[in-house]
Each structure stands twice: as structure tokens, then as C-alpha cells.
Amino acid sequence: MKFRTVHMLASYLMVATALGALAFGGNLDGPVLIIVVLAVALSLFIPEYRQQGAIWHSTWTVATVAALGLCVLQFILRDELVVSTVSFLLFLLVNKLFNRRTVRDYLQLYVLTFMMVVAGSVLNVGISYAVFFVLYTISITWALIMFHLRREMEENYLIKHSTDQRSERVAVDRILNSRRIVGGWFLLGTSVVSLAVFFLAAGVFLFFPRIGTRASSPLGRNPQMLTGFSDRLALGGHGRLRDNPEVVMRVILKELPPGVRLSSIHFRGAVFDRYSKGRWHRSPDAPKPRLIRRGRLLGMSWANLPDEARRDHSNLLDGATRQEVLQEPLGTDLIFTAGQPIAIDLQEKSGSARPGFRVTAGGELRANLAERGGRYVLYTSLLRPTRAKLSAAPQGPIPGSIAATYLTPNDDMPSTVRALGERIAAGRRNTLDRVDAVLSHLGQGFRYSRTLPRTGGRDQIAHFLFEGKSGHCEYFASAMVLLLRAGKVPARVVTGFLGGAWNRYGEYMVVRQGDAHAWVEVWFPSLGWVTFDPTPPSGLEPLPSEGFVARLQMLLDSLRMRWQRWVIDYDMHEQASLIDGLRLRLRRLRSRLDGVGGTWLLWTILGALVGFGILVFLGRRGLRRKGALRQEDSAPRGPALRLAKVLLRWLQGLQLLGFHRAPGETVLELATRLDSALPGLAPRAHEVLGRYYMLRYGKESPSRDEVINMESDMKALLEAVGPRRQELALSPGDSAGLSGSKQLIPPSKAPKGGP
């Protein structure tokens, strides 16, 4: 692919990922986003470096001023500084994409995308940001590398020098259109580098010291509008709630008490005590549990219970189950507890600098998580008292505050309902018997229905009990509470969630809006509040958890949960626990090693690593040397080497006889010079040397016999020179010609060298 095309595509990928990181937060206006996406796509077809006219520039200048004005107006009207600024940023992006005239424009484009990613960190805290962030890391690596190369090409270098004319710049277009600068391997290699960058970023993220707790932006997540958890509960107000799959919270339960099923866990939230004309209300003076502070724990106890009064609270968490809840922003400050709350961990907080945990009327738990959501750790009792225990529970006096709140305000109860309650309770002295009787009554002839009944002005509970005999959980719970109160049993309606889906990928419970439920809590004088659920099971079918789509949703949800827990809500507490965890693992490893002669094992491993390193080093060095030898193609090998040695020995023999080869003199020239000193030798020497060259540099490598023949010929030649040289040595007049010759080099200065 052409360099220019790759650079443009990398830049556009960067723009797209930055746009995605920003847009998926859901805080920007849909029409604005659509316009921006279309404009970005359209700008792809605008050629680079196109010279535009004055009208074009004026239009864009006017448009920029107009866009700035609109963004200021948006800020004034809606008071959203970040959103207004980002809108203007998007306009500048489009402007720059349509006006890519120089390489500097690309740089400005990258700065804009970076600002968009920074803005995205405020506007989008969802898992989509993670996806786009990874893509952005890859694309920024590509784009910046290619930007650098392009700038070097265009602005600085690539000057062609020539001897006979002036230096000139190489045509940039030719290089930009080259397909040889970057290719698939280049992109793959740089992707690996960018992934390494990403992991390094993750390392910095995890270990960069955090100071204080996170204060997340209110723009980050939009709170869900959850019904049924406000100050009043209107019957028939939200019959279709069960279809809503939106996640409300994720609960990590490390272990469950025996006999407790996930589907039967009630996550209690709001408590209602006063009924009036189809609506439940919360009394501000409803009794609260006694609060006990034990270190980082805030315990709750109904102190007016005889058992509780005797209880030693030194070990607050006896029989408690730990649960970690990651709650989405729900628009309510209620927090939900699986079963009856025992204590809340005040230090295990995340998602807000000041969660402000508090216990309000009726024993509801609340915190400042309505807008931001967050994480909290609770200890609750998931075990419901057994029937035997409930049956045997003493029927002591009902405390005044309980009776005042949960028995007396029955003025608005329809007389027919009161009469029915009294009739059901008649003859039954035990609380459990009365409860069983009401449950038995509601279990006969009543059915679950999400179709809201038309009461024709009648009280909805009276209509449910005597005419309609069908309704959803709120009707069953309300009817049971009213019937029990008519029978002098304190009871109240509780709303929250029932059960949830188990996410096998993340190993936690997912509770959705569709799991919203209402049930009943009954006061047992010696045991406190006990949960009863009158809604028929047929109405409590769980949301689908099998099938490809469901599994995919689970997988995505587990990713979301991890993102939320380990990235968005990561703070100094998480960091400290991470480091503690690492320390613990290291200590365990050390203790394991100690158990198996760890010190020796450690030294053996270290020694093996060092040895392996040395082997790799030596091996690489050897390979490099081998490669270097291989590169020297001209160096003789095998028979050619033997042949070369034959010539070398011949030259050494001549040297011993006083014939030294001058620097730069070829062997043939030496043979010619021999002839001038010893006439008649040259033709024979030339013939032998000619054959030598044929064998040495011929197409085929010499055979063993040819090398041996050549060796004997050279030896014979040398033997022929020897006696003649001695003759010359005996004749001083002749030898003077040799010694006086410039070609005769003294042996001490004779150069060493091969053929």
C-alpha cells in the first residue's frame, strides 16, 4: 500500500477511535454525532494538500465563528461546560479534516484527537472506553510514526546531490506514493509495540501511587430511573418492570450458608409501613435498629429483642455472610442487602470519597450513591429461622414502637379486608400459625398476573382479595401485610430484588431491574423481622441465563464489572490490597520453596537462568561469526583453499630464493620479472600459472588430482629456479643487475600476502 494511503488511514483510524471513546458515553447529542460522523466520512474524499480558493477559506472561518457562538449558547442554556467544549472540539476536528493542507495540519489533528480522548475519560466511563482506548493506542503509534517519517521527508531532508549540477529536493510525491516504506510487517511490528505500550500503561495505572479516593464525574454514568424505591409505593404503577434487563447491581458472594439458594435471596431495600388508598408510605419515625461501632464495622441490632439484649456483640460477625456489592447509579440513595443486615464495612468503600453510610427509619440502609453508584461491603444474615424455631418462639409482648408503627395505622384499611384478616386469625394464637393461615388463603385461588386490574374506584387490595384475585408481587405482599395486621401481627412491605443470574465468567450475581420484587417482613417478638414471600412461584421465573446471547451478555457483563471494579473504582484501598495480595503470594511462594529446600532451588533456578543466558550469548556470537564467514564469498574453501596454499608455498619458495613480490605486483608480473633475471623460465611459469588461474577461478572447483598435479608442477618450477639462482649468485656481475634492480625488495621489507 502507498505510504500516503497508510498514513491517511492510520490518521483516520485515530480519529475514529477518539470519536468512539467520546461518543459511546452517551452524553453528546445524537444528531450532532451523526453529523460529525458523516462529515468525517465525507472528508476522506477530499484530496490532501488541495489548494482551495478564498471563498472556501472564508466559509470555514465564518463556520468556525458560528460554531463557537453556538457552543457558548449551549453552555449558557444548558450549563454543561464539558459537553459544550467537546461540541466545539468536534467542529474543529471536522474543519481540520476538510483542510489538510500541510503536515502540520495532521499534527493539529492528532492534538484534537488526544483532547477528545481526554474528554472521553470524563464523559465515558463504560467498557467501550477501554475498547477504543486500546484501538487508539495502536492507531496513535502508527499515525505518529508515519507522521514523523512524512515530516522528515517533506520538511527536512531527501536532497539529491550531484557533481555537475545544483543539489535539488527529491520529489516528495514520488516517496509518498512509494509502496516500499511501510508494509504489513511494519504495521504488525508496530502493533506489537503499541500493545506493549498498552501493557506498560496498565502497569503505570496500577502502581502509580494514588492519593485519596476517587471522585468520579457526575457526567460519567447516567443514573437509571428505578421505580418502587421512592418515599411511596403506588400499587399498579409499574407492572411491566419485570421485562427490564438493565443491571442494577453485581454481588460477589464468596460462600453461601448451607440450604440457601441464590434464587431465593431477597435483596432488601425500601421498607414501607403505612397503607392508604392503594399507596404505601414510609413513616419518618419508624423504629431503627441500635447501631454498634466495632472498628471499621457499623453493626445493627434490634436491641429491644430479648435475645439481642443478651447477645454479646464482641464478635459482631457471628453467622454473617460477607457480600460485596457493586451498585449502579440508580437514582436512589438506598443500598441493598442480601437478607437481614448485620454490619457494614465503613472503610471498604469505593466510587465516592464520602459514601455517607446511614441507617434510616425502618432499618433501611442508605448512602450517597444515587448519582455515581459505587461499591460497598456488607455482612448479613442469609439464614431464615427454621419453622420449628419460629413455631417455638415465645409470643412475648410486642414493643410499643413496633406496635405503634406496624399495627395501629390501619385506619385506611377497608373494613372488608379487616374482617377477612380477623376471620383468618381467629383461633390461632401462634404468630407462625397466623402467617401460615394468610399464606394459605393467598395460595388458594389467587394467581400471578402482570396485567394491572381495573378497580373501578374501589380499594385495590380489597379488589384484589375479593374480586380480581390476580396481581403481581406488590398486591400479594400488600394483601398479606394488611391481613396480618388485622390479625394483630406486626408486618411491613419490603421492596428490593429477588435472586438474580449467576455470572459464571465473573463468578458473581447479576441483579437486574427485572428482578425487582416486593415481599413481607413479619415481626416475631423474640426473633425480630422474618421474611415471608406470598407471591406464587409461577410469577418468579428467572430471566433466561442459557443460550448464546445470554452467555455473550454474561461475558460482556463480567468485563464491564471488572472494568468498573479495577479501573473506574480503583483507588488507594484497591492499590493497597493489590500490593498486599502480591506480597502474600510472594510470601506463600517463599514458604513453599522453604518447604522443598527452597534456597537451593532458588539458587539452582537463578544459576540455570544465568547459564541459559550465557549459552544464548555464545550461540548468537557463534552464529554471527558463521554468518560473517559465509558473507565472505571470495575466501577460498575446500579444494580451492588447498590450491591457494600451493601457490602460497611457491611464492614463499621464490622468496627464499631472493625473488620477492613487490606490493601491487601480480603473480604473472612476478613470473615475467623472473624471465628478465633468468631468461627462459617465463613461458613455463606462465603456462603453469595459467592453469592455476583456470583451476582457481574456473567455473568448476578443482579435483583432488588436479590440485596434486598443480602442486608437483609448482615444485618443479621452483626446483628449476633454484640452480639458476645459484648460478647467478656465483656470478657477481650478473647478480649486481638483480640486486641493483628496483624490483628486488630486501627480505626484511618483503610484504606478506597470499595469491
Partner: protein, 363 residues
């Protein structure tokens, strides 16, 4: 090769660091974890920049390819070739600067990409103002790859000595006296147009048109065909290079004058050889017999490039038996040696003119 490393943050790099700091402060201040992630990415990019630039600079081999002849004050192209010895990784965006006598020359050679196992060559234009030996000590190699936030440099030692020959300027030699009728000898000397004289190895400065390609192919090196000259006039150039001065200023001036004389002698010799004369030279310390051809011009220029200015009381170069003897004095005046001592109307161009001429190719 000995290597020394340098690391410098570029202007863009300082901006990058400033943005890093700003993001870091914002992250700490707001507690927004995604800003920590962005900060981590930026720090990661810096680390990646260091690793990639190191990969780019490693495994490179450098060679300097000087031109066959370098003349003072005349631009020449110094060839630089870079071989990527790595087996798989290409080197990108490599800048090479030559180091001349402990000073980095302000001439950068840029290599956009050097694929693995490949060699790429380029050249830079440079000019030395004076003749003599010049020593190149090594290279400064740098890269801003991949993000231009760091400039990583390395000094690679590679010594090369080049001989800068005197500047040569065209002279109006038509003013030279015509060869005397008695002196014109039809001697069998090497020339360009006569019969074959012999074969010899090619030397720097020889005309490529005289290469005997068949013999070159046979012997595996360039072989030159030498021809017999039709006729030749011998000219001997006598050059005085003795420095006589009393104070420092005049010493400098006298030295300049001698340099001018050497330039004149070089120009004269080359001009005469180009016209087909057989030219020899005698200085106060060295001499070359008369000969012809471009290779002889190289010999004369090399002699002149090595010639040192002397302040010893040496005898002036003796007159020769050549038919024409020209004496070049310090300052560049040329006179015919003899009883009359006629001054030739030859002069070197002025300094500004020299610059213009230095950009032309001498033929």
C-alpha cells in the same frame, strides 16, 4: 568501532513531557482513573520511543566513499554508505553527520529506510578551503524515530584521511609562446591520439574513454589503453615556496602568496597537460620529470598538495633542459625562465571570482 551515546529531548519532546505532567496533575487532582490510564499510555510511548530508536540505530555499519580527487575551494561529494546488518528489522529515519577534526560538519545525510541486510548510499556536498591532508574521524549518527520526542545519537569512530589537492582554475594559455621549430620533436610519448603505446592499470584521474574494456574484463580490474603521442612540447614549471617575512602579519600574507603560487602552478600544469604538453615540475624540495596525460596531472597535484611552505634557505629550483621553463613566483605570477625573463599575462581570478569558478566543473 567505538561508540558513544547521546540522548536529547527535542522541542516536541518537551511539549510531550509538559502534557504528561499536566495529565498527571489532573489525574491526581481529580482522581479520574482514566486519566491515569492516559498518563500510562504517554509514558509507555516514551519508553517505546527509546526502544525503537535503539533498534533503529543498532546493527548499522558505515563507510565513507571519498571522491577520486578533491580540490581546495571546490565542492565535492563525499559518499556515505550505510549497511543494515540486522536480519529482520529495518532502520528508519537515520541521520548521519561527518566528523572532521573533532567538529561535526553541518552536512546531514538522511536515510529514510534501510531494509535489513541492505546497503544504501548517499552523499553530501562539501568544500575545503585549503589543500593538504584532511582527517575525518567518524560519524555522528542520530535518529528521532519513531515519534520525534527524543533524539538519540551515537558517535561512531571511522578514520579516513583524504588528500585535498590545490584548486585549479582555467587559464588563457593561448598566450603561451609557440613551440620553436627546432624544439619540436616527434618523440614516442604517451598521448591520446596516436598508435597503441601499451596497457596499464587505471589510476584516479584517467579518462574513462581510454579504458580497455576487453582487457579489463579479462583481468578483473580496470585496464587503461595508452596511446603514442604525435608530438609533445616539454614544459618545466619551477615553483618557489620559500617563506620570507619579518612580522606575523606579513608572514600570513606571505603564506597566502605562496598558496596562490601553488594554485597557479597547479592550474598551469593542468592547463598545459590538457593542451597535450609534456609537463614536469620542480619545487625547492621535490621534483617530477616531464610526462603527459591526466594521470600525470594527478601526480603533480598530489605533489603540490603535500608541499609544505618552507622557511629554510634552500636553493631555488634549478632550470631544466626542457624547451620551455616557466617560473611561478609566490603570488602567482608566471615568467618564462631565461635571460629575458618575460612575464606571462596569466593571473588567477580574484577571491570572489574564485568562488564562482569553484562551482564549475574544470575540464
Amino acid at each position: 568501532m567505538k561508540a558513544r551515546e547521546l540522548l536529547r529531548i527535542t522541542r516536541e519532546g518537551w511539549f510531550f513531557i509538559a502534557i504528561c505532567l499536566a495529565i498527571g496533575l489532573a489525574a491526581i487532582r481529580s482522581g479520574n482513573n482514566l486519566l491515569f490510564l492516559i498518563l500510562g499510555m504517554m509514558l509507555g510511548l516514551m519508553v517505546a520511543s527509546g526502544i525503537l530508536s535503539e533498534l533503529s540505530l543498532r546493527g548499522l555499519s558505515f563507510h565513507r566513499v571519498p571522491p577520486p580527487a578533491i580540490h581546495a575551494s571546490r565542492p565535492f561529494l563525499m559518499g556515505i554508505s550505510v549497511t543494515n546488518l540486522k536480519r529482520r528489522i529495518a532502520s528508519f529515519s537515520i541521520e548521519v553527520e561527518d566528523i572532521h577534526e573533532d567538529r561535526v560538519l553541518d552536512k546531514r545525510c538522511y536515510f529514510l529506510k534501510i531494509p535489513p541486510g541492505r546497503t544504501q548510499s548517499t552523499a553530501y556536498r562539501h568544500a575545503f578551503p585549503r589543500r593538504g591532508e584532511q582527517v575525518f574521524l567518524g560519524f555522528k549518527i542520530s535518529t528521532k524515530f519513531p515519534f520525534a520526542i527524543l533524539r538519540k545519537s551515537r558517535i561512531v569512530a571511522l578514520q579516513t584521511t583524504v588528500e585535498v589537492m590545490p584548486a585549479v582554475y582555467p587559464l588563457p594559455l593561448t598566450e603561451l609562446p609557440a613551440p620553436s621549430s627546432t624544439g619540436e620533436r616527434q618523440v614516442p610519448l604517451r598521448g591520446r591520439s596516436g598508435d597503441l603505446w601499451g596497457l596499464r592499470d587505471y589510476q584516479a584521474g584517467d579518462d574513462l574513454r581510454d579504458v580497455h574494456w576487453k582487457a579489463s574484463a579479462h583481468r578483473g580490474r580496470l585496464i587503461l589503453r595508452e596511446r603514442q603521442a604525435e608530438a609533445a612540447q616539454e614544459v618545466m614549471i619551477l615553483l618557489c615556496h620559500r617563506l620570507v617575512s619579518s612580522d606575523e602579519m606579513s608572514l600570513l600574507r606571505a603564506s597566502e602568496q605562496i598558496e596562490r603560487g601553488i594554485t597557479m602552478a597547479a592550474s598551469l600544469a593542468c592547463g598545459l597537460l590538457a593542451r597535450g604538453h609534456s609537463v614536469g615540475i620542480r619545487t625547492m624540495t621535490e621534483s617530477l620529470p616531464t610526462d603527459r596525460g591526466p594521470a600525470h596531472a594527478t601526480r603533480i597535484l598530489k605533489l603540490l598538495s603535500r608541499l609544505s611552505v618552507t622557511d629554510q634557505d634552500l636553493p631555488p629550483p634549478a632550470a631544466s633542459s626542457a624547451l620551455l621553463t616557466l617560473r611561478v613566483t609566490p603570488g602567482g605570477t608566471v615568467e618564462i625562465d631565461g635571460p629575458q625573463g618575460a612575464l606571462l599575462p596569466l593571473s588567477l581570478p580574484t577571491a570572489s571570482k574564485m568562488d564562482d569558478l569553484s562551482s564549475r566543473t574544470w575540464a
